[in-house]
């Protein structure tokens, strides 16, 4: 039996692929698979980006109530009473604490294991490999100005603009601006053959039209870019930022110990879908970067024993190991290029002979 299991799940990546397949099916097609109400139950337990606009899915994005509460509840009451009362803040905090609860267990793993948009981008990148596109990494210099964008999106589009809309300083149509530009809304609904979200609102106000244009430009860009750039949207995703807040307190996390060989190596960063340089150059807390999606690829491709670990509390769920690494790079390069199997076997034989 364990042998069978090894055949089906030979690597951590394969295991993650199977989990993604399941969560993808549930969050995008959940309504069809398990019935709409059951799907809704499941999806209310997931934090976000299983888009609420997708009518057949089980998905329910936590960014929806966050924006709504900013708009309707906090905004409206602040406008009336000019102060935030406990009564107002508690419901906001309920949404937020559901996140935190989720994060205290799964941590940042939502991104690499559950998020349907993350999965779509990953599959598109694999498709790009098949189509023969070269990989375009995001260099450390670019990351420096790209990283703050997700915090601005979180702060601006999820919190501030909806709040201003509630207060009456922004148009009412600005009540959930993040949803209005979210590529997940367009991509996941398209996957259920629903084109309503791809269509742009031309009959509403200019603000909606503008957001609609931004949304479609972004979604189109993300879909095409994902063929060459790993996880292009994730770089500016507000969920990545929101997840990052509690990452060190979460049970599931990434750990790296200092290692002398790291200086000359850097395979982990090459394997990282978020091109995180810190996993190469830092260790301890600082190696677990705000951009990490807990995919575990760095640990898979680190050629040294026990340097990078995926941990659940004190338990190491997966630990980098030389033997595993050797097996892993036979099938795939750290950058995700799939190797033709035959040639690899040959060179192995040659090695044995020589």
């Amino acid at each position: 039996m364990p042998e069978r299991l090894k055949q089906v799940v030979p690597t951590l990546s394969r295991f993650r692929f199977l989990v993604q397949l399941l969560t993808f099916a549930l969050s995008v097609y959940g309504g069809l698979l398990v019935g709409s109400y059951a799907a809704e139950k499941i999806s209310t337990a997931l934090p976000a980006l299983s888009c609420a606009y997708d009518s057949v899915n089980g998905g329910y994005c936590a960014l929806v109530p966050l924006q709504h509460q900013m708009d309707h509840r906090v905004g409206a009451v602040m406008a009336k009473a000019q102060q935030i009362t406990v009564k107002v803040l508690i419901p906001v905090f309920v949404t937020f604490s559901t996140f935190l609860l989720f994060f205290f267990v799964l941590g940042k793993a939502f991104c690499a294991w559950v998020c349907p948009l993350g999965t779509v981008q990953e599959w598109l990148f694999r498709l790009g490999r098949r189509l023969g596109f070269g990989m375009t990494p995001v260099p450390a210099g670019k990351l420096r100005w790209l990283r703050p964008v997700k915090w601005l999106v979180l702060l601006g589009l999820v919190f501030v603009v909806p709040l201003l809309a509630g207060l009456g300083y922004a148009p009412h149509s600005a009540g959930n601006p993040y949803c209005d530009i979210c590529p997940s809304r367009i991509v996941t609904t398209l996957l259920t053959a629903n084109t309503d979200e791809l269509a742009i609102r031309t009959g509403a106000d200019g603000f909606s039209l503008g957001l609609g244009i931004v949304a479609n430009l972004l979604a189109g860009f993300v879909v095409a870019a994902a063929l060459a750039v790993r996880q292009p949207f994730c770089r500016i995703c507000p969920m990545l930022a929101l997840n990052a807040v509690a990452r060190h307190a979460a049970l599931l996390r990434l750990s790296k110990v200092e290692h002398a060989k790291c200086d000359k190596c850097g395979i982990c960063t090459r394997a990282c879908p978020m091109d995180i340089p810190e996993i190469h150059h830092e260790h301890g807390r600082r190696a677990f970067n705000e951009d990490c999606t807990l995919c575990g690829r760095c640990a898979e491709f680190c050629p040294d024993d026990g340097v990078i670990r995926l941990k659940f509390g004190p338990l190491a769920l997966f630990s980098s190991a030389r033997e595993y690494y050797k097996r892993r790079v036979r099938g795939e390069t750290p950058e995700g290029e799939v190797k033709p199997v035959r040639i690899v076997r040959k060179s192995r034989q040659e090695k044995h002979v020589g």
């Binding site: 019935g35 709409s36 109400y37 059951a38 809704e40 139950k41 609420a52 009518s55 790009g128 023969g132 596109f133 070269g134 375009t136 367009i186 084109t195 309503d196 791809l198 269509a199 742009i200 609102r201 031309t202 009959g203 509403a204 609609g212 244009i213 479609n216 430009l217 972004l218 979604a219 189109g220 860009f221 993300v222 879909v223 095409a224 870019a225 063929l227 060459a228 750039v229 292009p232």
Partner: protein, 244 residues
Amino acid sequence: MATTWSSDALLRVTMSRGEAPGMRVKASVGDFDQVVLQTPEAPAPVVLAQGKDGWTVSKAQMGTGGHLWFIATRENEREVVRATTYFFFPARHQVPTEMLRAPRGGLEIVPLRLQEHGGTREGSRWRFLLRHDNQPLPGHLLTLETEGGTRQQFMADADGVAEVSFPRDFTSERLNAKEGMNARQEFVLSLDHVSGGKRFLTTYNQSYNPDRMRERSLALGVGVFALGMVFAVPLLRRKEKKNA
């Protein structure tokens, strides 16, 4: 207030916020002997108190939110009239399937799924189980009447399930009103049945919204999406062959 577009009694539920939170249920025409409320959390029917201005639901009876199912009944020796509706307010709630399907007796229009989050739009399809004394009514006709002036009938299949497709009949005044795509029109479904020398008349009323595509352009959407893809082209290079 009576409606001009249907002679059936419509139940209208309003939520009062502020000082005394609660709800009020009113019937558009006629009087009812009693109105009961069921929720998935408290599925046993609760008889509502009748005031001078309709029936009232206290804060405790409202429960935690989600799906509230109202049944108003009036009965004499000749006929049994039953009006039903449902009210949704977002909160932590349980799934209503079991509560809706639970045997109740009498003539019923049972929604197989309740229309939360404004899901009932022009052009959308919703399924209803028609049954009398808990037995499905295959081949029976369910009549839809809408505020937009549509009158249409839908026949139940072999399982007694009728699929209602909502017409595109929003009036231009409604569409041009400030609410835009959040505009509402009422509809009522009615089912007539004679059994044991008695006439049974059951209705279910609620509201629906305009088709969102009325204010959207798919062509523009596809065009802008394609333009977005074009912007990503500089990132797409052919793989360089490594020399070695």
